[in-house]
């Protein structure tokens, strides 16, 4: 009975949503004076950043990114608090499955390559697709692979926390430096360089590398926390 009621409500909701969105058009230019064209123009002419998504995420809407890394930081801290047990056995770790030697050697081979890929992606965030979040997440998957393959592989919790804190502090401090130099928070105060060079975009590249470190440390810490929960 409840299910039919829910389906009925959802059908009404879906009908209205679909009516709203099917009128929008797909693949058309929808508004004349949106913010989009401004971003696409300024990213080439002023910021000298090839990847527009990067320039939006880090510069035009950089405040969102600051909030977002804070959300991740909060999530990791919250998980640590929520899963806290008084009697904490340091060695206990849930084992997803016992891995064979093929998996182990394969992970050992892949691990450096994955880390390298992640680092490459977040260093080139302003030139090619990807950036801090993507690179950080890829590095975290590398650590995840090792954590699954080796039962006694461990990451120092203090090191993660150092990396996380320092990256966050650098992010805010770079923002505050812009505040002191240029007058507004997160403003670019370094020379913009030449488009499509590695050293271009001023502080954008630096901030995205910081975000990369921070996201990598946070996601690794998150998996580490939840993996160490065994009853």
């Amino acid at each position: 009975m409840k299910k039919f009621l829910v389906i009925l409500i959802l059908a009404v909701l879906g009908f209205h949503l679909f009516a709203a969105f099917s009128g929008l058009g797909f693949g058309v230019t929808r508004f004349e004076k949106g913010v989009k064209d401004f971003y696409l123009e300024k990213t080439v002419s002023e910021l000298h950043v090839a990847n527009t998504v990067t320039s939006i995420v880090v510069n035009f809407r950089g405040f969102d990114t600051l909030g977002e890394v804070t959300v991740l930081f909060l999530a990791v801290s919250a998980m640590g608090g929520i899963l806290y047990k008084r009697r904490h056995h340091a060695g206990d770790r849930s084992v997803l499955f016992s891995s064979s030697s093929i998996v182990r050697s394969g992970s050992k081979l892949l691990f450096p390559a994955i880390i390298l890929l992640g680092v490459y992606i977040f260093i080139h965030g302003h030139l090619s697709p990807g950036g801090g979040f993507q690179g950080g997440a890829i590095i975290a998957t590398g650590f995840l692979l090792m954590l699954i393959a080796y039962e006694n592989f461990s990451v120092s919790h203090n090191t993660l926390s150092y990396i996380e804190s320092f990256a966050g502090i650098f992010f805010v401090v770079i923002g505050l430096l812009g505040f002191m130099n240029g007058g507004t928070f997160l403003q670019n105060f370094l020379p913009a360089g030449i488009l499509n060079n590695l050293f271009s975009g001023g502080v954008i590249g630096i901030i995205y590398v910081m975000v990369g470190f921070k996201v990598a440390a946070e996601l690794t810490g998150l998996i580490y926390t939840i993996l160490h929960e065994k009853d």
């Binding site: 949503l17 977002e68 959300v71």
Partner: protein
């Protein structure tokens, strides 16, 4: 100029990243630094509020891009008033809970103050930002810290209350994202002032759909009626000071987001009537539920929901007087409800079930706490010499000026219900025999907690006897909210004048 609104967000975030490092050196700093940061935020927002009242609105841009393109922060009399209120209250909550859990090695206790600080920073962010997606991000920051604080005690119920809150919060943020998607697809911008100036070009159907999604999304934080299922559990299971922070800070931010949407962004006149209806339903349902509660914190939670309903009704009246009354109510609620939570949680501190029935005869054992609690109870039901009286009077007069007699009658009836359930508690405290085992020593709050409660009590008395002390600020703030064109111009004009 002394500082800039962006520091209200940047400094707490910086401190949140610094604290884990410094905590490794000296553990006590984990508790001290959030207090210093909150005090700094209080001083900064108060001076900025004074500056704004003299020189006009501050519009702060981020990363040097003018408002329609970059994110901007707006520090106006209204947002400044709310930011000052929140940081003041945040400081008091910190002061109250300073010696809350002595053992810092206890993992959640290490993070309690970080969560508290970011909760307040997120709420201030919701208020002062001028960009809807940025507001979404701050809602998430506030939300996650609130979930973590709700699950602070390791008992079984706290996790459940927290999960319930999280589920509703996650659904709410999905709805918010759909609303943002609709607005962006129609107007091609995310800046609030820009949206408000372009709103008349939007198709009315989309407008209504977007508004419905917005209100469903933010209504969870603002505790409006069908969406407040999380609130009583979260208030009950969270530590006492956290309940005070929810009632005083988080809910205010949610209400602000709703009224900013309706007053500034969407030009739909019937939305005001909708506010009145939904507010009245919230008020009546919450107050009648409060009557039936047996746990103290649950009763306070329902009372808090009811007060928010009254605030929304007052906003729905839509005139200058109505908005003034609503802001006055918000101020009073932010001063009184924390006092009730602080003193109430001290009164039931030693009891297992936190029942109202267990408060019998505590007036003789803990006279100071009982006095604070009854001061708060008298103030919130609106007895004449205290703060709550003036705000209730202004709501009634605003409704009377508009000829909304039904509202007046309903508010009076609900006030009677409120008197009944608060006086039931006061009666138990003072006029019943002490019923717990005699050996149990009464809980003695520490000095810092007493100072926090004294400050709130003095604020209640000051507002009660000299309401003129705050009415000037409130009048400025309500003028600021109603003057939509000025808001749009102030934000977008800066866009034209500021050149890089």
């Amino acid at each position: 100029m002394v500082g800039s609104p962006v520091l209200l967000i940047a400094i707490p975030l910086l401190a949140a990243f610094v604290i884990p490092l410094i905590g490794m050196i000296w553990k006590e700093l984990v508790r001290i630094i959030p207090g210093l940061v909150l005090a700094y935020m209080l001083i900064l927002s108060a001076t900025l509020l004074y500056y704004v009242s003299q020189n006009g609105i501050i519009v702060e841009t981020i990363a040097g891009w003018q408002p329609p393109w970059g994110i901007n922060l707006v520090f106006s009399p209204l947002t400044g008033f709310l930011a000052t209120l929140m940081s003041a209250l945040g400081f008091l909550v910190w002061l109250f809970s300073y010696r809350f859990k002595r053992n810092v090695d206890f993992e959640p206790a290490k993070k309690y103050f970080i969560f508290l600080m970011l909760l307040i920073a997120g709420a201030i962010g919701i208020v002062i930002t001028g960009d809807i997606f940025n507001q979404f991000v701050f809602i998430e920051i506030t939300g996650i810290s609130a979930y973590a604080l709700t699950a602070f005690y390791t008992g079984r119920n706290s996790a459940e209350a927290s999960f319930k809150y999280l589920m509703m919060g996650a659904l709410a943020s999905s709805f918010l994202l759909v609303a943002i998607a609709i607005l962006y697809s129609q107007l091609g911008t995310l800046n609030m002032a820009d949206i408000a100036s372009k709103m008349h070009t939007m198709n009315p159907t989309y407008k209504i759909i977007a508004l419905i999604f917005f209100i469903t999304g933010i209504g969870i934080e603002a505790e409006i009626f069908p969406l407040n299922g999380w609130a009583p559990d979260a208030y009950t299971e969270a530590p006492g000071p956290v309940g005070a922070a929810f009632a005083g800070i988080v809910v205010k931010a949610g209400v602000y987001a709703i009224i900013r949407m309706i007053f500034t962004l969407f030009d739909i006149p019937s939305a005001y009537d909708f506010l009145i209806v939904i507010g009245l339903i919230t008020l009546i349902v919450a107050e009648t539920s409060a009557l039936r509660q047996e746990k103290l914190k649950r009763m306070l939670a329902y009372s808090s929901i009811g007060q928010m309903g009254l605030v929304i009704v007052a906003f729905g009246i839509g005139t200058h007087e109505g908005v003034f009354a609503a802001l006055f109510l918000m101020l009073n609620h932010a001063v009184i409800k924390p006092l009730l939570f602080f003193s109430g949680s001290s009164l039931v501190f030693n009891s297992k079930e936190k029942q109202i029935a267990e408060m019998n005869g505590l007036g003789k054992r803990m006279p100071l706490m009982a006095a604070f609690f009854s001061l708060g109870a008298f103030a919130i039901v609106g007895l004449p010499p205290f703060a709550g009286f003036w705000s209730k009077l202004s709501v009634l007069s605003a409704a009377a000026n508009e000829g909304l007699l039904l509202i007046i009658v309903l508010i009076l009836i609900v006030s009677v219900i409120e008197i009944v359930y608060y006086f039931r508690v006061v009666n138990r405290i003072f006029f019943q025999e002490y019923s717990r085992e005699k050996s149990a020593a009464p809980h003695r709050p520490r000095v810092n907690a007493l100072v926090a409660m004294f400050v709130l009590a003095i604020a209640i008395l000051v507002i009660g006897f000299y309401p003129d002390a705050v009415t000037g600020i409130l009048h400025n703030a309500s003028k600021d909210l109603l003057n939509t064109d000025e808001y749009i111009n102030n934000v977008l004009q800066l866009g034209q004048s500021l050149t890089r």
